[in-house]
């Protein structure tokens, strides 16, 4: 387990950089995480997905997959890939400060 520093706060993250304690996340950290993930600016559409990820994590204990995001977030899979080109579910989860979404096997 390692730590990353966002908004002058050291937060615990896993080996791939996902938050392990989502309560430590603040909105102010998101821009910085996004920048590390290659997204220069978070638009309102990005925020729609980020907030949805956090809601889903709070309700279900895991972030949604891309398919579920496309069906339920109000953003299509095509647009999700435009917003988060390197894998929407994983990138949005990282920016939203939640653990890596667990997929089915």
């Amino acid at each position: 387990m390692s730590t990353a520093t966002y908004d002058d706060n050291a937060v615990p993250v896993d080996d791939e950089g996902f938050f392990t304690e989502p309560d430590r996340w603040t909105e102010a950290m998101a821009e910085q995480i996004a920048c590390e993930a290659g997204i220069e600016e978070l638009t309102e559409r990005h925020w729609t997905v980020i907030r949805f990820m956090r809601e889903q994590y709070a309700a279900k204990g895991t972030g949604p997959t891309v398919r579920v995001l496309g069906k339920t977030s109000g953003v299509t899979v095509k647009e999700l890939y435009q917003l988060f080109p390197k894998g929407p579910a994983k990138t949005a989860a990282k920016i939203a400060g939640i653990p890596k979404p667990r997929g089915c096997i």
């Binding site: 398919r67 579920v68 069906k71 894998g87 997929g103 089915c104 096997i105």
Partner: protein, 413 residues
């Protein structure tokens, strides 16, 4: 007690649940009704072998009601919807079935039409799936005609039934083309939405190593956005392309259509949310789900349905008796992975323990995550056990619901 148990689905999970319930509680305690829409129970593990001529399609299908104990009522009908408040299922023809316990076992449906172009030009010509019987038969014909070029095996997205089957297809294709003497004229590519050959690190390394050994290219993190049959291209949502002459695609999966018409029953993909250990619906305690229909973070595989059956039948008894549920399912999954040349791997894991090397079911037994002829024989022997032991709801000797720990080597990837 004379309770009514309605089981939706007469496949692996529904059939073994009905028979186990009948064995455990008998006619005096409950009346069991199984509903399905046709009379064809397909031995799904056999679909993998049909394209290569290693199984005959007609041998994989048997009558659904004939797999059920004689005291179980079988209704052949379409399921219109479930009315959770009224505790009733509405079937085609105006039939209404009231229940005290509902078991959803209607599996996963293939949704090829949800991927752009998949069922367009080329579908059934140079684009196939082997996940249903007509597709597997069509692919057999296409493989026989195939004289060389690019063969792509692709998983559109998760979840999918039998997550190892596409890998097995790639391994068997390598062997098939070797046998035909044209392997050097065929480029084989395995395309997956995962970031490795499989989900769990130790298994991903072993299975990814086998792909490399057999000269099968691996393309990862490819979520299928479009199939262009005419142009011979798979296109991902992030606009990467994989060319093909023959594409073998595992389509998107969802729950049965009636789930979407039954308010409060399923999730956004049509699967049934249930407690991962008790298999009970979180908001409707009289509803349980088993097998591929359940929205669990477990594999959609027949072995899971088998191991869940023990938990489910016990918990239904407790529920009907007004007692707290005490049987827990641990996510146990067990899969033979055919690798060609009369060999197979075996993997065995659960919610908490990933597929690891070692032996099954104890320190002496079948080798795990390692090719062997014994595993291949195990896979072939399973078909007899399926019809004569698993479906009738009998215990398989030496293989219990809980994942065995003995025999596993806890290594790190």
């Amino acid at each position: 007690m004379d309770k009514r148990i309605v089981i939706l689905g007469g496949g692996t999970a529904g059939t073994l649940t009905a028979n186990r319930l009948q064995r455990t509680y008998g006619e005096r305690e409950c009346r069991i009704t199984v509903v399905d829409q046709d009379d064809d129970h397909v031995y799904q593990p056999g679909l993998l072998f049909v394209p290569f001529g290693l199984a005959q399609p007609q041998h994989l299908v048997r009558s659904r009601p004939r797999q059920l104990h004689a005291a179980i009522d079988y209704k052949m009908a379409q399921i219109e919807r479930v009315d959770l408040d009224a505790r009733a299922v509405h079937l085609s023809g105006g039939i209404r079935l009231a229940y005290d316990v509902l078991v959803v076992a209607t599996g996963a449906a293939l949704l090829p039409e949800e991927t752009e172009g998949l069922t367009g030009p080329g579908w059934g010509e140079n684009v196939f799936t082997f996940y249903d019987l007509p597709g597997a038969v069509g692919l057999h014909g296409a493989l026989e005609q195939f004289q060389g070029g690019r063969v792509v095996v692709n998983v559109a997205d998760l979840p999918l039934k039998c997550p190892v089957a596409p890998l097995e297809f790639a391994f068997l294709a390598d062997w098939y083309f070797q046998r035909r003497g044209i392997r050097d004229k065929v480029q084989l590519t395995y395309v997956t939405p995962l970031d490795a050959a499989f989900t769990k690190p130790v298994a991903a390394e072993a299975l990814g190593g086998l792909l490399a050994e057999k000269g099968i290219e691996l393309v990862t993190e490819f979520t299928l956005g479009q199939v262009d049959g005419t142009g011979g291209r798979l296109v991902s949502y992030d606009e990467r392309e994989v060319p093909f002459d023959l594409a073998v695609v595992v389509p998107l999966h969802g729950g049965a259509a009636y789930v979407g018409r039954s308010q409060g029953l399923g999730d956004e993909l049509g699967f049934i949310p249930v407690d991962p250990h008790s298999l009970q619906h979180p908001e409707h305690p009289d509803v349980f789900a088993i097998g591929d229909a359940a929205g669990l973070l477990a594999s959609k595989a027949g072995s899971v349905a088998h191991f869940e059956g023990e938990t489910l039948v016990h918990n239904i008894g407790r529920f009907l008796a007004g007692q707290p549920l005490d049987a827990t399912f641990d996510g146990h999954t067990n899969c033979f992975v055919e690798t060609g040349y009369h060999k197979a791997l075996l993997i065995d894991f659960n919610y908490d323990t990933e597929p690891l090397p070692g032996h099954f079911p104890a320190a002496v037994g079948l080798p795990l995550l390692k090719e062997s002829h014994a595993n291949h024989l195990g896979k072939l022997a399973f078909e007899w056990l399926y019809w004569h032991s698993l479906l009738p709801g009998r215990e398989l000797p030496g293989i219990g619901s809980a994942m065995p720990e003995r025999g596993k080597n806890h290594v790190h990837a």
